[in-house]
Amino acid sequence: MTAVTDPVAAAGTRSASRTRSPGRLALARLRRDRVSVAAGVFVALVLLASVFAPLICRVLGVDTERHIELLSLTNLGFPEGRFGGMSWDHPLGIEPKTGRDLLALLLYGSRTSLLIAFGATAVSVLLGIVFGLWAGYFGGWVDTVISRSTEVLMAFPVFLFSIALLAVLGNLDRVWFLTGNGLRMAILIFVIGFFSFPYTARLMRSQVLSLRTREFVAAARVMGSTNRRILVRELLPNLTGPIIVLTSLSIPTTVLAEAGLSFLGVGISPPATSWGQLLGAASRTFVVDPAYMLFPGLCMVATVLAFNLLGDGIRDAFDPKSTKS
């Protein structure tokens, strides 16, 4: 059969699209999204502020010392002056009953809240990857066991349970080398992370399931790769997109989870602070001193909102088909 056409080399050079890796494509798309970029900048600022909290405090001249002299003796220990004692010395006012500067408390509190949130997200995503991969790739009874377990966990009154659990564990003095506030934080990280993992495991599992049937996995197996090789070399790289999206979308949830638990008093407790702890303390006095509730609340909401916007943007960047206005 005579060849009807030449395999013209020229056809190859005038190729369709400049191919880039999905990661770079996503990054390019993300950069075009102004809202996400703004959110990202805000998040970066918050992170910087919490990392450099001591430095900032020193620069602004605030500290976490108790300034009892600023509290009103007649008004049940509430701050003198308007808006919870706002002044040049104390830009956001002071805490009732202890007189500590609110700005300093917020800065140090952000550290705690964000540290716990990132830790819990890491735990949740890691567990999700491990169990999701395991269940999705191997299938069979492993999958059944893991899926059933996540089902049970999701049917559980998780919040109620964590409150009870944390109340119980709050009495522990030391585990290993951790004590006091450090222990408290570690416990929170593990509890929140653990109870979030069914959700992440399910997501990972469905991702793995859809990838597992793709040709490149079959090809790898035909070539004689061991299961572990396939998992690490083939599947995992293709999962980085979903993992990044999952992580960025989990952070707001964990922040609010810690805040909720601390609010109810089973999370971080004084003298340590976190956003939730401040709000919890404020819940007793906010009718009289709304500033004490407002500032930590706004700070938390702004940060969570920024994380949500950023997470949405990242998700849209990786999958432009996903619905966005």
Binding site: M1, T2, A3, V4, T5, D6, P7, V8, A10, A11, G12, R14, S15, A16, S17, R29, R32, P320
Partner: protein, 338 residues
């Protein structure tokens, strides 16, 4: 045959603006469909045939696409028509069936309900009357136990039955034109033949014209009266079906014919057309097939050929090669090797 074609498409272009560039899915497409005629529109994936089919019904969202050119059905303009006008055309004058009947039928409504709905949109009748008509259509397309099938859900049917039901739904208002977008691609080969036969039979019986969109030349040869060959959004050749297979006048058509596997002969390797279709964002300035054409020369890279007569008045092709040269090449090089 009427003088004025039932459907007149002139210079149809459908462009989609995307962040990566303007995708020219259909670029300057022209053809006619006469009443009662079965026109095959054949091309590879991405050739724009489905996009063109949907454009005839005005199904592209105005916000996401730009449609220019002329589409006239029985004298009425489709491009740029108001939504209400289009709505009245759809289903009653021009109907469309799609490739995958499982995803094209609503999974949560019964087949019967969907058929009745199609009828009642354009006919003010009672539910009972619509139901009767629906059952009638179901029987007509060969679905057994039509009365019971009325209450069944799409997923309860086999693929072939679903496609029959879709055809019934499309023809329930007796349209003058049926657009069938790859109706057999998702079906088994044996069922394919049945569905094609059904379409042909119904076209004869109702006198409706059919635009049969497919990538399968075999389907075209079996069923169609005329053929339009599309490539990268443009028509490269259009002719009577017999003319196309006996005297093809375009290198692309030669490539297509050469790549059909034959069971009745022993041959060496399969002979695909080397290369890839061009990007629809980055179309070449000259002939869109030039990169893969073994007969390309000088002006092919720089100038876009016009659609011109090639042999007979009804036979048009888009190629810079002079007609006699093409006839020579066909006679001496291509045809003997097929």
């Amino acid at each position: 045959m009427a003088d004025e074609p039932l459907l007149r498409v002139r210079d149809l272009s459908v462009h989609f603006p995307t962040p990566d560039g303007l995708v020219r899915s259909v670029d300057g497409l022209s053809f006619d469909v006469r009443a009662g005629e079965i026109l095959g529109v054949v091309g590879e994936s991405g050739s724009g045939k489905s996009v063109a089919g949907k454009a005839i019904l005005g199904l592209h969202e105005p916000g996401q696409s730009v449609t220019t050119g002329e589409i006239r059905y029985a004298g009425r303009q489709v491009v740029g028509a108001a939504e209400e006008e289009l709505r009245q055309l759809r289903g009653s004058e021009i109907a469309m069936i799609f490739q995958d009947p499982l995803s094209s039928l609503h999974p949560y409504f019964t087949i019967g309900d969907q058929l009745s709905e199609a009828y009642r949109v354009h006919n003010r009748v009672s539910r009972k009357a619509a139901r009767a008509r629906a059952v009638e259509m179901l029987t007509l397309v060969g679905i057994p136990a039509a009365a019971r099938s009325y209450g069944a859900y799409p997923h309860e049917f086999s693929g072939g039955m679903r496609q029959r039901a879709m055809i019934a739904m499309a023809l329930i208002c007796d349209p003058g034109l049926l657009i069938a977008d790859e109706p057999t691609t998702a079906l088994d080969v044996t069922v394919q033949a049945q569905i094609l036969q059904l379409i042909w039979d119904l076209s004869q019986e109702f006198g409706s014209a059919v635009v049969l969109i497919t990538h399968d030349l075999g389907v075209v040869a079996e069923t169609c009266d005329r053929v339009v060959v599309m490539y990268a959004g443009r028509c490269l050749e259009q002719a009577d079906v017999v003319d196309l297979f006996e005297r093809p006048m375009s290198p692309y058509t030669w490539g297509l014919l050469g790549s059909i596997p034959r069971i009745d002969e022993t041959r060496g390797d399969l002979a695909p057309i080397a290369g890839q279709p061009p990007s629809l964002i980055d179309l070449p300035p000259g002939c869109s097939f030039e990169p893969r054409c073994g007969f390309a020369f000088g002006s092919c890279t720089s100038e876009r050929p016009e659609l011109s007569a090639a042999g007979s008045e009804d036979h048009l092709a888009r190629c810079h090669l002079p007609v006699p040269d093409r006839q020579e090449i066909w006679r001496t090089q291509i045809a003997p090797a097929l």
